[in-house]
Symmetry: C2
Subunit: 390 residues, 2 copies
């Protein structure tokens, strides 16, 4: 096992009444002027954004607002937010939405504290040394960004989707009301369930021999999200099920399920190119790739896949268990309405040229490898994209 | 399920090299002058205390020291520490040891920031509003105090062992090197394993219907500590096993395993009187009581005990599973060398007078009830103490 640091300072306020705590939390964490940051119209139409504005007004907390965050959030809006915050003297970003809004907020928060171009942090040209504080009102469980050290932005000019990890962007607080997720459409719910499971699967498939307790918690989390997530598909307004998925989403990516082990995140890296090139939902892209990645890398450590099959997928143990575990996951994805190939994801086969673009971008022109369970270079990326394209 | 707040800001630095991070952590968290607080001679003899002093000297960080913390730490030493810190201008407490040292440090840290008698917080006369910062170098995994909001002190004058919970006493950082636990004697190791499991068992047995994810993680943690803990008894210098138990100790009591559910903590309350009256180890006292508590309260919700038996104790499901799970725990305690009754704990039966004292103190003269799974008043406490005394 590896030495590790575990640091999850985010104060989570969870439940039906949690939104009532937004103003005290903003005060506790020193908000002077707040940027209310959100996506499309649903947060406005649901009444959540007007409610928050009214609460801030009542408390005498000045605010500005910036909506319009799109899935796979754009660097261009982050630039706009940084300008706005500097101009208006905003010192606290309140993200109202899901992972895209939170990551956009984190990008703005980094940018406020940096004299250069915030993309430097995503391009590997600089490392963050500070961030303005961010708080979250979570409405879509999936990314885990509300407790994670992760921020992923898309530079549409360069066709690049890149991440930056640092503890500076851990959110000060996260307000989570499961009732806000009742109206998520089935496809988006399934994408969230897929992404949540994958955040811990990326940690489970490690080249290390992890601590027993990390394995036990990681297996328990993925298995439970699989079971609870499938139940949720036919019972979408069940508060307990929605709550369980929402909270699991935070725990799956805050570091807990990978303590002492290097993560893989190869599937995530491969997927980022799919969502950048085709504009698909991240969770669906993960489902389209994972089984192909798994079959490709399994020979490195079949025992690990066998444990996964037996302990997570409830496959009976035996010589074929490892492969059966992957099949069980494929069947699960189908049952919750997720694609299990690129053709199912985008409605046609990708062209050879597109496959080349995916591998070129993912390998940064052949100079960059991804994954740890098995390190994947450009040729191996091509193999996996081709398998997923059959 | 219940609304909840989850807040675990402690920065955990875990592994063989973790002690090298003490000085940067002290600087990061603003230590001006440090009180090095510890227990008996073992931390000195092992070279850990001299090493820390040398590191602080090299870094130019001034320090004072206070050793002599005993198991079930005494209020009197906390008073001494408060005086010392005020006199010497100490603003940061560094606890080097296990739960007793950490709780003593937390008591001092509360006291520095309070004009009145710090016992007020334990006596219910006042609620903490601040605490000086505390950091931990953990050498004994058991209490979970390094990440918990808990602090338990013993007032020997009044014969009272009392706890105080608040987020103010959450430690700033915890440095954990599993190698430091290799030399723990088997009895102390088993007491730690028992205490760790119990911190999550106290959360598992709840009057609420918890979220699926909380149950899954709680069951996985207790089961894993049971299995890993038993392996550790015959392989005490196995780094991975020691690491797993050490980290599980923090997770078992930081709130993770009880999100959305009210805890019980009746067994802990009943035990506090045993360790106060007889001076026994807390973990051993818990083992001596739990099976008797469990048999007494099981009728309230046998289904919960059946789940515990099947999912945690690996008992085959069936009509007798609930009781068999308790038997399995009793057998486990015996195998790791823990007592399963008061006579086994103290080497004789407790007298009727002693049983009365236990129940009087636990019920605060009949005015106080403990537990939530089943609320226990003085008469019920007497029943359980009597059963445990057979």
């Amino acid at each position: 096992m590896q030495d590790f640091v575990y640091y999850t300072p985010t104060e989570v306020v969870f439940g039906r009444e949690s939104e009532e705590r937004i103003v005290p939390l903003l005060k506790k964490y020193g908000a002077g002027k707040v940027l209310i940051h959100y996506g499309g119209g649903s947060a406005v139409r649901s009444g959540l954004i007007p409610k928050i504005k009214a609460m801030l007004d009542s408390a005498g907390i000045p605010w500005a607002e910036l909506g319009g965050v799109v899935p796979n959030p754009h660097l261009s809006l982050v630039y706009e937010g940084i300008e706005l915050c500097k101009r208006e003297g905003v010192d606290f970003i309140l993200a109202v939405g899901g992972g895209s809004v939170i990551d956009s907020a984190k990008g703005i928060a980094y940018g406020i504290c940096y004299a250069g171009d915030v993309w430097d942090f995503f391009d590997g040209k600089a490392v963050p040394a500070a961030s303005a504080p961010v708080g979250v009102v979570l409405t879509i469980p999936a990314s885990g960004s509300e407790m994670s050290d992760s921020c992923v932005l898309t530079n549409t000019e360069k066709g690049q989707k890149r991440g930056c990890n640092s503890n500076f962007c851990r959110c000060r607080f996260a307000v989570m009301n499961p009732e806000r997720t009742f109206t998520l459409p089935p496809y988006q719910t399934a994408c969230g369930v897929t992404d949540i499971m994958m955040h811990s699967m990326e940690r489970y498939f490690t080249p290390d021999s992890p601590m027993a307790i990390t394995d036990a918690l990681c297996e328990a989390l993925i298995r439970d999200v699989r079971i609870t997530g499938e139940r949720l598909m036919s019972d979408p307004e069940n508060y307990e099920l929605r709550a369980s998925i929402m909270w699991a989403g935070s725990l799956a990516h805050n570091g807990l399920t990978g303590c002492g082990a290097r993560f893989d995140f190869g599937t995530h890296r491969l997927e980022h190119e799919l969502s950048t090139l085709f504009g698909v939902a991240h969770g669906a892209g993960l489902a389209a790739l994972w089984c192909h990645w798994a079959e490709y890398v399994m020979p490195v450590n079949p025992e690990r896949f066998r444990n996964f099959a037996v302990r997570v997928m409830d496959v009976p143990d035996g010589p074929a268990a490892a492969q059966q575990g992957i099949e069980a996951m494929r069947a699960f994805y189908r049952r919750i309405g997720m694609p299990v190939s690129i053709p199912e994801l985008i409605g046609r086969k990708a062209t050879e040229e597109e496959i080349s673009i995916l591998a070129d971008r993912c390998s940064r022109g052949g100079t960059f490898a991804v994954g740890n369970f098995k390190v994947l270079h450009r040729e191996e990326m091509l193999d996996i994209y081709h398998k997923a394209n059959e």
